[in-house]
Amino acid sequence: MSIKITMPALSPTMETGNLAKWLVKEGDSVRSGDVIAEIETDKATMEVEAADEGVVAKLVVPAGSDNVKVNSLIAVLAEEGEDAAQVAKNALAENGSAAVPAPQQQQAGTGSALPVPAGQNSAAAGEQNPVSAAKTAGIFASPLARRLAAQAGLNLTAITGSGPRGRIIQRDVEAAKRAGGAAAAAGAAAGSAPAPAADESAILAVFRPEDYKIVPHQPIRKVIARRLVESKQHIPHFYVTADCNLDALLKLRSDLNMAAPVIKKEEGSAPAYRLSVNDMIIKAVAVALKRVPDANVSWLDSGMIRHKHSDIGVAVAIPDGLITPIIRQAEEKSLSAISAEMKDLIKRAKQMKLKPEEYQGGTSSVSNMGMFGVKDFAAIINPPQATIFAIGAGEKRATVKDGAVVSADIMSVTLSADHRAVDGALAAELVQCFKNIIENPLALLI
């Protein structure tokens, strides 16, 4: 039997991915675990491993193909003793005639913990053309227009047709695309469509055409936009701010860094770790959530998710956007472990190489703008989380100690909380707890 390799779903909601690169050629032998291809989604680049061994009989989807449907055939392996050419031929014939069987929803429950409307599961499961099939039946549009809209994530119902009898045709979809996709994003349409943006032509009308140019959005920009609109529109945010004295924490950090053992590496010797203030803040948030477990929650209409661990997302700026990789069970990890993990995550985030499970989920987040000299700010909650800590710069400020005005390193923190899940008093308790840990940082060492 030949072995079929299909487009993997990197996340439950992934519908298509781009086959960036083949790392094998037809005729190559592969063993289980060999990396054979790289797949890109709007957020990450992922390596695809062979699950079996065999000879690559046919690369069905060429490298560089965009929008390859999840579960569609991408390559075929011939098993030992099989004729690769024959296998390739059969596979192609089959691939053509029989529709790819509807796959089971894989990895349900990982990734986004948001309630997923029933319709979205089937859309994610590799239908031929999720948008057109599921949501645009009955709309008068040309086949090409349907496909272009699906690829651009545009909702056909929001597009006016200019073809004969109002048929939506290619140029209408392209006009909608140029207009920046005023129509609701297809993904959002599944359950939580943001209100359509204001009429874009009205916006453009107030600027002189020679005074601007329009740059099309990268996929990641659209995802960020959609998720943030979703968050701000659906989550009743409120904010709690406190100032934390950093003196003890800075002292502890410097002591710990000085005490780091030096280890020998090929490139020379280096300290085993070098903690950043941010590493300590991550741990502080994790410990605070452990101590105030009522705040370590996510809202569901049907009930409250109470998390057992503090999985802390950390906002990382990447080219064209940002992403929040997650330190899992941070309350149980040592500072040096968090530090090492963060370094690795940041590096791979910048290369767009994070796996979806490395940035999806999480129970709270840290967004630190201290390095930009920001005093304080409020962050938007990253669903399905209920809280996010916005960290300002540590700076020398006049403060009162034992009745006297003294100078100390002070850092403002602003907690944004989902009021459905976390009430004001609880948020205050969480911030208080965080402040306590920062000011008495030995708690970070236990």
């Binding site: 965009d66 053509g96 086949p143 090409l144 009898r165």
Partner: protein, 482 residues
């Protein structure tokens, strides 16, 4: 009387536009100086197809034995009868246009038109005797026409067509150096012929005269014959034409032509060398140029460029009330483009809803040589240049049952898809009857089908059209009979 619309020129652009204008309720007149139906019906599309049909029948007869038939004797060509048939076909359609004008209550004004001026929101047109005599033989002038004088219209549509382009030093003389006019009515068949230019017109005449027994040499400046066609199709066609004994020189330039007593000698430069070729006659088929002279364009300030009238997407010139369509408004210089452009122009004047400018990327082009060539959309090279990630499907006539049964197993169907969207970007064919097949792809393109609909469409068996479906399947690795 003031007309709503006056159209100057009754070629396929002009007369079809007149009919559509009349249907829309416009009071319409058409001015023609020479022949109803323009170049197309009188000296272009139609009479050439009649000639090529004679050539094809001759070819069939000569190959009757391949089909188990014995014809005793040789197939002889009666040159004057072949031409007479071609003229009769043309005359019938020419008369048909006269009938259509009458039926649609369109006034026909006979004479040469010149724009005089504009006042009170109207354009005045002066109609006078033609400055040059008509090409002969001329079909009879329709019985009821209006004569010389000044006419007025709110809208004037210029559809004056085009004429052969002349290269300096190689000007057609009607005797040794022919244009399509003389080539269509040869007093006697030349034994040898040089054809300068390998566009559709040049290649069609090459095909015709070769079948009629002449030694034919095609000289083309560009690296391939039929320069607008996909290079793979062009190369295929070239091989077939060469197999028929036509000599083809590409990247070659005629630098001088000398006339002998009853012959011409062309000096042809290619890859740095000059070669002389002598033949009975030479056909200059190096393109056409718009009829923009003596039209009064300068008086009104109508802008022209590169020998054509400059128009916008609605065929409007820079002067209000003046429009231009068809060959005189620029490439592609094809009858069906002229017609569609004119229809859209008057529908826009009628302010019909949902009118869109002509999409020139979906205009098919056909060449009626043997083998035929037909195409629509982007060539492989153009698609690549446009930055598309393309997917190509091919299917050979040799694998098609109907083609084999017809004894026409040399040909190729090639389709080009956008890999990303499944949009059909181009279709290119060479082989028997492909000019009748191409519209299948044209319809598909206009309805914006993707590969999926084409793959799910049932094509009748056995037909040549099945190759169209197979080529689409091939593009997606699913070809069945290959």
């Amino acid at each position: 009387m003031v007309y709503d619309i006056i159209i100057i020129g009754s070629g396929p652009g002009g007369y079809v536009t007149a009919i559509r204008a009349a249907q829309l309720g416009f009071k319409t007149a058409i001015i023609e100086r020479e022949h109803l139906g323009g170049i197309c019906l009188n000296w272009g599309c139609i009479p050439t197809k009649a000639l090529l049909r004679s050539a094809e029948i001759k070819h069939f007869c000569e190959n009757a034995k391949d089909y188990g038939l014995t014809l005793s004797g040789k197939v002889a060509v009666d040159n004057s009868a072949v031409i007479a048939r071609s003229r009769a076909v043309s005359a019938r359609l020419n008369a048909g246009v006269g009938y259509l004008m009458k039926k649609n209550k369109i006034d026909v004004i006979w004479g040469e038109a010149r724009l005089q001026g504009q006042k009170n929101g109207q354009t005045q047109i002066e109609v006078h005797k033609p400055l040059k005599p008509a090409y002969q033989p001329q079909h009879p002038v329709p019985k009821t026409v209006l004569g010389e004088g000044v006419y007025e219209a709110r809208h004037v549509i210029l559809a004056t067509g085009a004429r052969p382009r002349a290269l300096p030093g190689i000007e057609p003389d009607g005797k040794f150096i022919w244009t399509y006019f003389e080539a269509m009515v040869p007093p006697k068949l030349p034994k040898s012929l040089i054809i300068m230019g390998s566009g559709a017109i040049g290649v069609e005449f090459a095909s015709f005269y070769r079948d009629m027994g002449a030694e034919v040499t095609i000289i083309e400046l560009m690296p391939q014959i039929l320069p607008v066609e996909d290079s793979e199709i062009s190369a295929f066609a070239r091989k077939q034409l060469e197999r028929r004994g036509i000599r083809i020189m590409t990247s070659a330039k005629v630098i001088k032509v000398e006339k002998g007593a009853d012959s011409v000698t062309a000096h042809v430069e290619s890859s740095g060398k000059v070669e002389t070729i002598t033949a009975d006659r030479l056909i200059a088929a190096v393109g056409v140029q718009g009829n923009i002279e003596n039209l009064g364009l300068e008086a009104l300030g109508v802008k022209t460029g590169r020998g054509c009238i400059i128009t916008d997407e609605w065929s409007r010139t820079n002067i209000a009330g003046i429009y231009a369509i068809g060959d005189v408004a620029g490439a592609p210089m094809l009858a069906h483009k002229a017609e569609e452009e004119g229809v859209i122009c008057v529908e826009k004047l009628a302010d019909l809803p949902d009118i869109h400018p002509l999409d020139k990327s979906k205009i098919p082009g056909c060449t009626y040589c043997r083998p035929q060539i037909a195409s629509v959309g982007l060539t492989e090279k153009k698609a690549q240049e446009a930055g598309y990630d393309i997917r190509i499907g091919r299917y050979s006539f040799a694998a098609n049952g109907k083609a084999v049964a017809l004894g026409e197993d040399q040909g190729l169907v090639k389709v080009i898809f956008d890999n990303k969207t499944g949009r059909l970007l181009g279709a290119h064919m060479v082989g028997a009857e492909v000019t009748e097949l191409i519209q299948g792809f044209v319809v598909a393109m206009n309805l914006e089908t993707t590969e999926e609909e084409l793959m799910h469409t049932v094509f009748p068996h056995p037909t040549l059209s099945e190759m169209m479906k197979e080529s689409v399947l091939d593009a997606y690795g699913r070809v069945l009979n290959a």
